[in-house]
């Protein structure tokens, strides 16, 4: 069974997922970061594949990605770093990145490497659903790699139904119309959206704007848990990653 499904089966609520870019803050920190997060009780980790032009991300993630790229990070190096990761890391792992990098690497090679490193799923925000289903879905499924899809408050009901059917593992529920690193607005409109998505037949995690215990608790109240990226990157940069995770749980 895919580790993501296992997680949602064993622990239905308060799931904490953490995002950080590969090779950050230092080039060889990828696996040590994973170890720290697992030891601290984080349930799921999204490893960012750094990209020069991350459209869906705010300035903190872009600057972190640039630092990592400047240090020599690449998708190829990431797979080298993750080669033995499953000897120590047992929590589900997801790669999150932009389509150009994956396409340039070669989709077949990418999926093979995901499978051999024990990557459970991927989030590729700018790969359109239609293109995915027509050209790539069969390949992803053959390698057991889950393609996790995003929904936003602007996603129409018709599209939501399509995405619900197509996503694997869980739905990434974007909290608001903003790039990563903004604040989490709390409004009845927002809550209605959370409830609508949460009522679907697939688990969901809320991301974008979750930055501390209060916003994590708030988001978890409407879904199976939440995703924190920007706030964790700031903690990594400030050398307080361990304390930051403690403060959430």
């Amino acid at each position: 069974m895919n580790r993501i499904d296992q997680l949602f089966q064993n622990k239905g609520k308060d799931i904490l997922s953490i995002y950080f870019p590969a090779g950050y803050p230092n080039l060889n920190d990828t696996v040590p970061n994973l170890q720290l997060l697992q030891d601290k009780g984080v349930d799921l980790v999204e490893i960012g594949i750094p990209f020069s032009d991350p459209l869906a991300d705010g300035p903190v993630i872009q600057i972190a990605a640039k630092q990592s790229l400047d240090q020599g990070m690449s998708l190829k190096l990431l797979f080298q770093q993750l080669k033995e990761v499953r000897s120590t890391i047992t929590i589900p792992l997801i790669l999150m990145g932009y389509w150009n990098v994956v396409f340039k690497y070669g989709v077949d090679t990418f999926l093979l490497d995901c499978q051999s490193c024990g990557i459970d799923g991927v989030i590729l925000p700018d790969l359109p659903l239609e293109e995915y289903e027509e050209e790539f879905k069969a390949k992803f499924e053959a390698h057991g790699v889950y393609n996790i899809l995003l929904v936003t408050p602007q996603t129409t009901n018709q599209r939501l139904a399509k995405i619900e059917k197509a996503t694997k593992g869980f739905l990434y529920m974007v909290s608001s119309s903003a790039t990563t690193g903004g604040a989490l607005e709390q409004s009845s409109e927002r809550e209605d959206y959370f409830k609508k998505v949460a009522s679907l037949d697939i688990p969901s995690l809320i991301g974008f704007g979750i930055h501390d215990k209060a916003s994590f608790r708030h988001a978890s109240g409407f879904s199976n848990g939440a995703i924190i990226g920007t706030a964790f990157i700031k903690a990594l940069a400030g050398g307080t990653a361990s304390e930051f995770i403690d403060s959430l749980l």
Binding site: F51, D53, A56, Q62, K66, V101, Y105, L127, S177, G182
Partner: protein, 394 residues
């Protein structure tokens, strides 16, 4: 508008294998709203009436098609310049901004976002926003803001807010990223893209709005020579909007040779270039599958050209398709060759071209013509904005 077959965009926004809408879900609703409305609006009688009236009386269309006798003699053929340099604001960019601002108005949008490199599209956007009384936010790389001070001043005088893009290398690519992020955060705004790039429907929409250029060339050539078709149409390509407009009505006229000229900067092998088709490969940038300049890890590389309007690391998907099918021939011209061509035009015809357009002119040096050939060069803009560069380099 006439319908195109082989080179037309399909229902999902593809030209051959290029194009599409590779955008995060965060942008989907915004792009879908535009896609569902743009053709309906453009094809409406009201739009056509308003657009035509503004093009005639505000932009100053039709622009002349000038037969340049001295240049014709120099190359032993018949050379005509399509004079986009004579439009209001000094470049073809205004054809597109006038059209998109009307579309924005019909869609009920009151806040306009734009990106700009050299500032030409920013000025053209600020101009139409002033005309229509709409809020205007222009993203511009912090480095470009420094380099293009006169255009920044023009935008400010026109009432636009110029926001520096401080991410990445602080040039056009980063300004585009910032504009897209603004659009994600403000889905009720209208994102007014300046070239035939971005997710579907932008490449098609901007191409249609620029197609007035080839529409006029056909009429003007018919009067001049009795034949709407020239032997060659030559235009420079950065993102490719002036070329798309100059080529559009000739795409299916296979006897008309289309020549697209890229900026090779210091030379295609120098590492300091913007010749995307020549050195790039297939990838995804700003929502479009197209040719682009990238490193072996798929990171988008920084282009270089002396001309700020041509240093974009991608190219419109239509052009990627025209290159792949061989419908258009792609040439490249260095900084030096463009500067020399600008000097030739200034001295022989009394016209100072924009540095971008000078690239199209420089291609004449690389080609051979028959004496009966009819050659149209799209003079996409005037050189006022480039005087500092010209003075430094000539």
């Amino acid at each position: 508008m006439m319908s195109k077959n082989k080179y037309a965009v399909n229902g999902r926004g593809y030209y051959g294998r290029f194009g599409g809408a590779y955008i995060p879900e965060l942008l989907r609703a915004n792009v879908d709203e535009l896609r569902e409305n743009y053709l309906k609006i453009i094809n409406s009688e009201q739009f056509q009436k308003d657009y035509k009236r503004l093009l005639d009386n505000y932009v100053g269309r039709p622009t002349p098609l000038t037969k340049v006798e001295n240049l014709s003699k120099r190359y032993g053929t018949n050379i005509y310049l399509k004079r986009e340099d004579l439009t209001h604001t000094g470049a073809h960019k205004i054809n597109n901004t006038i059209g998109q601002i009307l579309i924005a108005k019909y869609m009920g949008k009151t806040r306009i976002i734009a990106e700009t490199g050299a500032g030409q599209h920013g000025v053209a956007t600020a101009t139409v926003c002033a005309l229509f009384g709409l809020e205007c936010i222009v993203y511009m790389g912090a480095l470009d803001i420094e380099r293009q001070a006169p255009n920044v001043a023009r935008m400010k005088m026109l009432g636009a807010k110029v926001v520096p893009a401080i991410s990445g290398n602080q040039t056009l690519k980063d300004a585009t990223n910032e504009a897209i992020r603004d659009w994600i955060a403000n889905p009720n705004s209208f994102y007014l893209i300046g070239s035939v790039v971005g997710p579907h429907p932008y490449p098609d929409m901007v191409t249609r709005l620029q197609s007035i250029i080839s529409e006029e060339i056909r009429e003007q050539l018919t009067k001049e020579t009795g034949n709407p078709n020239p032997d060659y149409v030559i235009a420079c390509v950065g993102g490719g909007s002036n070329a798309a407009g100059a080529f559009y009505h000739y795409l299916d006229e296979e006897d008309v040779k289309l020549v697209a000229v890229e900026a090779s900067g210091l030379g295609v092998g120098s590492g300091e270039t913007a010749a995307t088709i020549t050195i790039g490969d297939v990838g995804f940038i700003h929502g479009s599958k197209t040719m682009l300049m990238q490193d072996e890890d798929g990171q988008i590389t920084e282009p270089y050209s002396i001309s700020a309007g041509l240093d974009y690391p991608g190219v419109g998907p239509l052009h990627a398709h025209l290159a792949e099918t061989g419908r258009a021939q792609f040439l490249s011209v260095t900084d030096r060759e463009a500067l020399d061509a600008a000097m030739v035009l200034a001295r022989s015809e009394g016209i100072i071209p924009a540095l971008e357009s000078a690239h199209a002119l420089a291609a004449l040096e690389q080609m051979t013509f028959d004496k009966d050939d009819v050659v149209v060069v799209n003079l996409s803009g005037r050189g006022d904005k480039d005087m500092e560069t010209y003075m430094k380099n000539i």
